[in-house]
């Protein structure tokens, strides 16, 4: 597209936006609300996924050993664990090391150690689990297999925690898509109707343009751009509200003050995700306009 044409197109779009009045504001508002709700869901998912990811990096399965386990059984168990695909790393803690660790952890509360008598703490293997094997089902199957092995007393891992966080993230993702689809559809509908009013208001001009041989693209472009800008504006407003809300929640929860977009008490959307949210609004606006103008020009 030549520069003068682009300049004229932008000029037309700005004039249309100004003429849009309350109808235009309604479109901006609809896209803003839609983007805000999508942004909230996205932010929540991003933060939960970050928590889950951090937690997964540190995730351990602890295999407690029976006190009467023989050295031979322990070595066999160690070899079995090393050969297991789900296991990334194996660390052994003897009974003595477990007691020393316990003493370090309860330092200052010496009374807890009184009357312990013989060391009651079991020896154990601490297993780092590869990320692909950290699902609730996989861990349950792995723990059941471990518990059947000779010399194993008990297998511990945060089963409920794994299941619950995993479920929550899945639900949020599904909910995000569902809510996003419904709200996106509603926003497109509102924008389409708002733009339709603008199209009707300019029906005579469109008629003249058709008759003199203007292409459909030429006639549609200012309307589509108008919807695009309305969407961008709605997305921008939503983003500001989302950031303000995020800072408020961080402040209320007394978390460390975060950077503008960075980490700290929580995690705001990455620059690319911010751009994605803005673009979502813009695309919703553009799609609504296209729908409306297409219907009009078909007639």
């Amino acid at each position: 597209m030549r520069l003068p044409r682009l300049g004229a197109l932008l000029g037309d779009t700005l004039v249309n936006l100004r003429r849009g009045g309350w109808g235009g504001l309604a479109a901006v508002g609809a896209i803003g609300v839609c983007s805000l709700i999508l942004g909230c869901l996205w932010l929540l998912t991003v933060n939960l996924q970050a928590i889950l990811s951090d937690w997964r990096a540190q995730f351990e399965v602890v295999v407690f050993l029976r006190d009467d386990i023989t050295a031979e059984q322990r070595e066999r168990l160690r070899r079995w664990l090393h050969a297991e695909a789900a296991v990334a790393d194996v660390q052994y803690t003897s009974k003595e090391e477990a007691l020393a660790l316990f003493k370090r952890e309860v330092r200052g509360q010496a009374s807890l150690l009184e009357g312990l008598g013989e060391n009651p703490l079991p020896a154990s293997f601490q297993l780092r689990i590869r990320e692909g094997h950290q699902t609730g089902t996989a861990l349950r199957a792995f723990a059941t297999a471990l518990e059947r092995l000779e010399g194993v007393e008990e297998v511990l891992y945060g089963r409920e925690w794994v299941d619950q966080v995993g479920r929550l993230v899945s639900v949020l993702q599904v909910a995000g898509w569902a809510v996003g689809t419904i709200l996106g559809g509603a926003a497109i509908f509102i924008v389409a109707n708002t733009i339709r009013l603008a199209v009707y208001a300019r029906a005579e001009e469109i008629e003249v343009l058709r008759l003199v041989g203007a292409t459909r693209g030429y006639i549609r472009a200012p309307f589509i751009l108008e919807g695009f800008f309305q969407g961008l504006l709605g997305g921008g407003v939503a983003l500001l509200l989302l950031f303000a809300g995020y800072r408020f929640v961080v402040w209320r929860l007394g978390l460390a003050p975060p950077g503008l977009l960075g980490l700290g008490g929580g995690r705001f959307l990455e620059p690319l995700q911010v751009a994605g949210l803005l673009l979502t609004g813009a695309v919703l606006g553009g799609a609504g306009s296209l729908l409306s103008v297409r219907r009009f020009l078909k007639a």
Partner: protein, 221 residues
């Protein structure tokens, strides 16, 4: 230049607007299309600029088969035509010059060329002094002359005029017809639809008479 071959146009199931219309309008002709209201004059014009498609028959305009023309080629067809209406269809929120400028921009005319052409055409229709006024401040005849100037912005081969004098008194109507005859004298093919029999009889031009969708008389066929 314009050929109709057994063209039929039906709206809905029963409303037959045109029945078996065959017509041949040659390059450079000035043709009056006349008949009572509802005879099918406007439908015939709309078929030429592909605002409508016929129910049956074929239409050729400047060698192009309008009926089979793909949608993306319709703008190119319309760029060969100028269309004017009884109600002028001017944009009242723009000046006279801006009404013409809208067309120049749609056609991708360079700014300097557009200004030159707008000036030339407004001078041709005698309204250069009104260039910066709103069309609403003009008389009916002046508005129609602006509409004619606008229709000439794309240098059309054919000018289609649907009741261009319908809202004008006799004197203003004669002015508009004189302007159209001047254009015709320069080689432009003109098809003018009107139900004003007096206007037609004054001009001694080819006249096609439509009645209930049929051609009932054509003194130039």
């Amino acid at each position: 230049m314009i050929q109709f071959f057994r063209v039929q146009k039906t709206f809905g199931r029963e409303m037959e607007a045109l029945r078996d219309v065959s017509l041949d309008i040659r390059k450079g002709e000035f043709v009056f299309l006349t008949g009572p209201s509802g005879a099918g004059k406007t439908t015939l014009l709309r078929l030429i600029f592909r605002d409508l498609l016929p129910t049956a028959g074929q239409i050729l305009v400047a060698g192009r088969n309008v009926v089979r023309l793909p949608g993306r080629e319709v703008p190119a067809l319309r760029r060969m035509l100028g269309v004017i209406f009884q109600d002028c269809r001017l944009l009242m929120d723009r000046t006279v010059a801006e009404n013409l400028h809208v067309v120049a921009r749609a056609l991708g005319t360079a700014e300097e060329e557009a200004r030159r052409k707008i000036g030339y055409l407004l001078r041709q229709v005698g309204l250069l002094h009104r260039a910066n006024q709103s069309p609403s401040s003009l008389s009916g005849g002046e508005q129609q002359r602006v509409a004619i100037a606008r229709a000439l912005m794309n240098d059309p081969l054919i000018l289609l005029a649907d009741e261009p004098t319908g809202n004008l008194d006799a004197e203003l109507a004669t002015d508009v017809i004189r302007l159209l005859r001047e254009l015709n004298a320069r080689g432009m093919t003109i098809l003018l639809a009107t139900h004003n029999a007096a206007l037609v009889s004054d001009q001694a031009k080819r006249t096609v008479v439509l009645k209930a969708g049929r051609v009932v008389a054509d003194n130039g066929a």
